[in-house]
């Protein structure tokens, strides 16, 4: 993992009748997109609110861009962009005026051009003069995303950013997140729709009942979860391939048309070795995919009770 921009240590948040977040520790480095996954009530939103300082924590420390929340909240705010799971907008302002409000608040240099850039990035250029009340929920969501990106923060907290977006919007959101990742931002993103996170999250944190169930890179998590389901396809020499697989440490081997699926218990090196064996033995492998790399699979295997 690259140098951490967001560090959470032993975070605990108490509500009157419940411990909403309990002893949570995780780090998100520059260029990392971390998926915060969990069922309803797992504490994802509370975690994000606690990181931003909107929710008071009982214990633990939060450090963003080297600034500790308890000691340097003002410096921390400059490094942080938080997009909540609802859309707080001034209904009677235009999209441009709304962004202008926050550009002034963040003291963004070259306000007008930066606002235009963010509108363009969130495909709202055509709606720049529309009142917020005239925007659809998805558009408002994009506008709030534009507001979050406005000060160019090092760390982004995105709470369910795709929930109101149409399919095209989700594809565009994915592009934006990849751009942010490439730009070296640290992104902590929560979502119920795990397939959406799979494409661009390189780390994931699974929460349940306020506790961190597991945290790591997608590959590490796949391994942590133990057995992973693999899928292999070849162009010819199916018989030889099946023989190699049977002799290897695989379970539940199922043959398919020019391919097979199987469970593999070994680590990543053993898996690499198996692929190498197949290729060296002359099997023309054209697809080699592990479903254990999939966030949904990891989540299901993590033992979390409720998948939304």
């Amino acid at each position: 993992m690259s140098s951490p921009l967001l560090t959470i240590e032993h975070l605990r948040v108490d509500f009157p009748e419940v411990v909403a977040v309990n002893d949570l520790s995780l780090t998100v480095g520059a260029g990392d997109v971390c998926g915060l996954i969990g069922p309803n009530g797992a504490g994802k939103t509370t975690t994000m609110r606690a990181i931003s300082g909107l929710q008071e924590s009982t214990r633990g420390s939060v450090r963003v861009g080297g600034h500790e929340l308890a000691r340097e909240p003002d410096e921390l705010k400059k490094c942080l962009g938080f997009m909540p799971d609802f859309c707080p907008v001034y209904e009677q302002l235009t999209a441009t005026e709304f962004l202008d409000h926050f550009a002034r608040a963040y003291d963004v240099p070259n306000r007008a051009s930066r606002i235009f850039e963010c509108l363009e990035l969130t495909w709202l250029t055509e709606k720049r003069n529309a009142l917020c009340e005239e925007l659809s929920r998805g558009m408002k969501q994009r506008l709030v995303l534009a507001k979050t990106l406005l000060p160019d923060p090092k760390v982004l907290l995105l709470d369910e950013p795709a929930s109101g977006l149409d399919p095209l919007g989700r594809i565009e959101l994915r592009k934006i997140l990849l751009q942010l990742r490439d730009a070296g931002k640290a992104v902590l993103i929560s979502s119920h729709i795990l397939t959406e996170l799979s494409g661009f999250c390189n780390t994931a944190a699974i929460m349940e009942r306020g506790k961190l169930v597991t945290f790591g890179t997608i590959a590490e998590l796949g391994q942590k979860m133990g057995r992973r389901r693999m899928s292999v396809k070849w162009r010819a020499d199916g018989g030889k391939a099946m023989d190699i697989l049977k002799s290897a440490n695989v379970k539940n081997l199922e043959a398919a048309d020019l391919g097979a699926t199987f469970d593999f218990d070994g680590n990543a090196d053993a898996l690499d070795e198996l692929l190498k064996t197949l290729v060296v033995q002359g099997v023309r492998v054209c697809e080699w995919r592990g479903s254990g790399d999939d966030l949904e699979q990891i989540f299901l295997q993590s033992g979390a009770k409720e998948l939304m």
């Binding site: 605990r12 108490d14 009157p16 009748e17 419940v18 411990v19 909403a20 309990n22 009530g41 797992a42 504490g43 931003s52 300082g53 909107l54 008071e56 009982t58 214990r59 003002d74 705010k77 400059k78 942080l80 938080f82 909540p84 609802f86 707080p88 907008v89 001034y90 009677q92 302002l93 005026e97 202008d100 409000h101 926050f102 002034r104 608040a105 963040y106 003291d107 507001k147 009942r209 306020g210 506790k211």
Partner: protein
């Protein structure tokens, strides 16, 4: 940051302008011009009006103009600020602004000056027309300057209170409660003893009427009490100076509370020392104003002092005001039990000393001392003969302060979100129900069991002889002692609830 660069102010300005200001300005102009035309009509044909001079006509028409101005800027502005802020808070926009590098003070200023802009425009139009009325009515310009300064200062003072309200109220429309209460309650007290009531100076009722120079009308009974300077412990102070001094003094605390609450909504808006100083300022100012009636010889009236006690039991009213003020201060300063539980979790110390130190109970005792000293100023010179009256009044304060704090915290601990309803219920039972039962059964003695009665009755005894007989103070003291028993019972319940809270903190359940 200049106000013109404050993003909250600019956004509020945009929102106000987008909603339209022209109609509002025209309404204000029409009202003002109607009154101006009335004055012009009088000046052209004085015979058809009942005014004795152009000055009198000018004062009447200008009085109406500033009346509308007060309604628009002070009452309307208050409602607007608290409503806008409460709506933004509920919509999550206040949180969005709090996450920016804007300082809490800048956020407060933005709402304070930005939200009531429509009302500011309207009152500016009225003020302009008012100036013309003053000039045409040949009234001194000091009247215009003085009244306008007082209106603006009061609007700013109450605007800060509105910001604070907007930060705490649950429903945006609840912000209208305070101005509504002011309109209903203020006249009840303002006209009983104008020069002696603090509310007449905190809100500039006396100062504005005084600026109208009522000396010519002082012969008339209704205006006799509105002329001259008030005195604080015998020192005459110009009414405008007193009003501005009080508003600035208390405004500083409101400002600090608003900024603190904006920075961290989880914290109490008042530090303890601030609550004590605020309470002290208000209470000593009130007793200072009334000091001239008895000069410390309560209940013997000073020579030359008008016998107000014939019309109203002044010190009893102040006693009730003290109880109300203490209840408000204690309610604001009292921490939510959840805060103390979190502190216990943080520090790992969850015991009774922590509960006592964080509870408003010690604060109530300090406020009691302040109230006792303030009350003592009225009867210090005759304390050897009046010690019983003072003891009953002080004991009554002690009972109420303790019962209120213990009841409030007990209900918060026991009933959580439903606490307010139960506090109101028990205060009703302890304070009001005895009076109702006294009326129902035609038995005045039942009314004396009210938590309010001992102090009020003792201090109503301003003439030395009273309707209750010479044994009455002793009887009242017995009631005070009996009521102390309620506080003791509440104390045990209160302690038990804290224990339960700390026990829960020690064994916290996991998330659902």
């Amino acid at each position: 940051m200049k106000l013109s660069e404050n993003p909250i102010f600019l956004t509020q300005k945009r929102l106000v302008h987008r909603a339209g200001v022209l109609a509002a300005i025209l309404i204000a102009a029409l009202i003002g011009l109607s009154l101006l035309s009335g004055l012009i009509a009088y000046l052209s044909a004085p015979i058809s009006f009942g005014f004795r001079s152009p000055q009198e006509a000018g004062k009447v028409f200008y009085g109406w103009i500033i009346g509308v101005e007060i309604l628009v800027l002070i009452i309307g502005g208050f409602g607007r600020i608290s409503k806008v802020l409460a709506e933004d808070r509920k919509a999550g926009l206040l949180d969005s602004n709090r996450l920016t590098p804007l300082k809490p003070a800048q956020i407060v200023i933005g709402y304070w000056f930005g939200a009531p802009l429509r009302e500011v425009y309207m009152s500016a139009v009225l003020a302009g027309i008012g100036l013309v009325v003053v000039l045409l009515g040949r009234l001194p310009l000091t009247l215009w300057f003085g009244t306008q300064i007082l209106i603006v200062s009061t609007a700013l003072f109450l605007g800060l209170l509105a910001v604070l309200m907007g930060l705490v109220i649950q429903r945006p429309q609840n912000g209208a409660v305070v101005p509504a209460l002011l309109i209903v309650l203020l006249p009840l007290f303002s006209f009983i003893m104008p020069k002696y009531m603090l509310s007449n100076f905190l809100l500039p009722v006396y100062s504005i009427v005084n600026l109208f120079d009522t000396r010519e009308l002082a012969d008339e009974h209704s205006f006799r009490d509105w002329s001259g300077s008030p005195e604080i412990f015998g020192v005459p102070i110009p009414p405008v100076v007193l009003t501005l001094g009080l508003q600035i003094g208390i405004g500083i605390f409101l400002w600090r509370a608003a900024v603190r609450k904006t920075a961290n909504p989880f914290r109490s808006p008042l530090f303890r020392w601030e609550a004590v100083v605020l309470f002290g300022i208000l209470l000593f100012a009130q007793h200072g104003l009334m000091w001239g009636v008895w000069h410390g010889h309560f209940p013997e009236l000073s020579v030359g002092t008008r016998n107000f006690a014939d019309e109203a039991p002044m010190l009893s009213i102040v006693h009730c005001g003290t109880l109300l003020l203490a209840a408000i201060v204690l309610a604001f300063a009292s921490p939510l039990p959840e805060r103390v539980r979190l502190e216990a979790l943080r520090t790992g110390v969850g015991n009774f000393p922590l509960a006592f130190s964080r509870s408003a109970l010690p604060l109530a005792l300090v406020l009691l001392a302040v109230a006792g000293i303030a009350l003592l100023t009225q009867c210090a010179a005759e304390i050897s003969s009046n010690w019983m009256i003072f003891t009953v009044a002080f004991g009554s304060l002690l009972d109420f302060f303790l019962v209120f704090v213990l009841l409030l915290e007990f209900c918060r601990l026991r009933f959580k979100r439903r606490a307010l309803g139960f506090v109101c219920l028990w205060l009703f039972v302890l304070c009001v129900l005895p009076f109702i039962l006294a009326g129902v059964f035609s038995e005045a003695a039942i009314g004396r069991l009210s938590l309010l009665s001992p102090g009020v009755l003792a201090l109503a005894n301003s003439q030395g002889s009273n309707d209750y007989g010479s044994a009455e103070p002793d009887f009242l003291l017995l009631i005070v002692l009996a009521q102390f028993g309620i506080a003791v019972l509440l104390f045990f319940g209160w302690r038990d609830q804290w224990r339960r809270l700390f026990a829960r903190a020690a064994a916290i359940p996991q998330a659902k």
